[in-house]
Symmetry: C2
Subunit: 345 residues, 2 copies
DNA sequence: CTGCCACACTAAAACGTTTCCGAAAAGCCG
DNA sequence: CGGCTTTTCGGAAACGTTTTAGTGTGGCAG
């Protein structure tokens, strides 16, 4: 005999009472509840999740879908591991566990998600790397599974999402550089296919125009968000007839490759070319020159994500008043040496 | 009506037959099987995992436990995301799915694993960051759950593990530096509390002695495996009376901080001090000077992990003959500029 | 004293699936 | 044609839990 039955037998109580005692139901004598809890602890009983979720239709598990494609791996750095800390701190308060679902890179994310959802292994989902138009969102809406997307998307009506403040970052970077006298400002970003690439460059363009600076397409360098991409960006810049005096990187790791390429050409970043990165990692300030970039707390983002998600789950919504369905997550400027010089005076 | 019942009704067949058809059992007419498969596809039926695993006692899910503590996050970089690719490529052949279980950093890993195991949500486990003596291993052995540990451990008798070839790397690095005329070789590693720190430094010491070089404790710099740690290591070196001519880093990111500190002191890495890193990342070769370090395929490691794990699972062992229970994973030297100079002649 | 209610508990149904067992049909052999 | 095996399927039990409905107390108000 196993499971709750064994526990019940051992206590000479019906299994129903044991279950209610364990789950904190009101109609059980406090005295017996204590006995049950003690016995459970002693025997080491933990409810079998399959049985429980079969009956309840709920699993107490939140899924976080991530993509493990090579591209993503290189770029995401420890983004997700950082975010999980914040996620867990909120979820654990509700006895919810977090499961990361890494989509195989040879499988269609949509199909993978479909399978995971059909299995009924999670109560709610967080999906990341949302595309401009993303079938996964329609799927989740159709199956009525609570979810929140990390990354804005145009599809599926008004679902809940959180995204980084790319516009704010681009605007702030441009403003800062312009105030130091820069007029020719390059930007390194991925292609427009990736939502982020589109948004970032668009915001950059608008900011330039706000300062009355004409948008020059040749200053938009489309490269991958990696060291390799940074190196390549440096390469592209050097080939321009009319070289920029500053460059904005969409990802902080790119600075490593950029620095390398510049050094090879005898150009000193932070003196001959101003550089601003995007998301600060510990390494940003150890580069030479240290990188001016934008700082954010991955943990806080995780907390926000979790709270937003819980607000969409009927069983938990009461504690988390439904705020804005769409959140723009701010980043803070962390000045470094890489753009310290001024062209003025 | 839902689930398999609906499907059976729709086909006017008993649910037992539907189930057997779906699961590829032999005692079902090929004709009816086709009908069932077609109908399932059309309706979009996927077996409810709770019901299935309750009955079968199996979940078709492999758990990969990772720790999301701050320290780990900073150090692991994309180690796990890289490994999952290889893991999945093997597991998916057996219709097994991979689940990452990120242990909250405020919870005891042992307790967390205990909870996850008790839930019966995974059929087997991969645990990482194993300690020198690790309670989790005893737990897994006691509960008879197939598992493989990423990282050697002394506890629990002879369980299965895979670990990187720290001895080989340390020996190779020392040999290389000595052959270039270096005699005072420093090493930056975490404390002996962490298994890795102990093994690495021990292998380093033995290699030195093999060359008849006396082990000098003052050349062992105990720091964290991060940019910050690298910076600090540089700081420590500069304070030594008798300075080393070379340094071995246990982690490639440390080079960024080390370079920074050296540059601040006017010391040029790769000319005044030879530097060898550990695991190569894309960024290693973009550093200035590019870092000599050791290369490995995270994906291949994932494949090896998966195959080793499957060999320990009775249901799959037939395809994966039980080889060595303990595997030392080799790394390959990738020469760079950081140790290119020679002290000889 | 009677009716009512709250309390604490038991018994049993239900969740969705797989699998065991048996039975019907069909084919084969003598 | 009778007995045998093989093929194919249906019925029902089983997995471990939660939850509903019901049962028997005892207290309390009328």
């Amino acid at each position: 005999m196993k499971g709750i039955r064994q526990l019940a037998k051992h206590l000479d109580i019906s299994i129903g009472t044991v279950s209610r005692a364990l789950n904190g139901r009101p109609d059980v004598n406090e005295e017996t509840r204590k006995r049950v809890l003690a016995a459970a602890e002693e025997i080491g009983y933990v409810a079998n999740q399959s049985g429980r979720s079969l009956r309840q239709g709920t699993t107490n598990v939140i899924g976080l879908m991530i993509e493990s494609s090579k591209e993503t791996v290189e770029n995401s750095d420890n983004f997700f591991l950082g975010v999980t800390g914040g996620l867990q701190s909120v979820l654990s308060r509700h006895k919810l566990d977090l499961l990361m679902l890494p989509c195989p890179n040879d499988e269609d994310p949509h199909e993978y998600l479909k399978r995971m959802v059909a299995r009924r292994i999670v109560d709610a989902m967080i999906i990341s790397a949302t595309q401009r138009v993303d079938k996964r969102i329609d799927l989740l809406i159709k199956t009525k599974i609570p979810f929140v997307a990390l990354g804005r998307s145009a599809s599926g009506g008004n679902h809940t999402w959180i995204d980084l403040d790319f516009e704010g970052v681009a605007a702030c970077a441009v403003d800062r550089l312009v105030s130091k006298g820069h007029r020719r400002i390059a930007i390194a970003a991925p292609s427009n296919d990736i939502n982020l690439g589109y948004i970032f460059v668009d915001a950059y363009r608008k900011s330039l125009e706000r300062h009355g600076i004409a948008f020059d397409p040749s200053l938009v360098i489309r490269v991958k968000s990696s060291e390799q991409g940074g190196y390549q960006a440096g390469h592209e810049i050097l080939r321009l007839d009319s070289k920029p005096t500053a460059i904005i990187l969409i990802y902080e790791l790119m600075a490593i490759g950029l620095y390398r390429r510049l050094n090879e050409a005898g150009i000193v970043p932070g003196r001959d070319l101003a550089v601003i990165g995007f998301r600060e990692e510990p390494r940003g300030k150890f580069l030479q020159p240290s990188l001016t970039c934008f700082r954010m707390s991955l943990r806080d983002l995780g907390v926000e994500l979790a709270e937003t998600l819980l607000a969409t789950m009927p069983a938990y919504a009461e504690h988390y008043p439904k705020g804005a369905r769409n959140t723009i997550w701010p980043l803070e400027l962390a000045p470094g040496e890489s753009d310290a010089f001024s062209l003025k005076a």
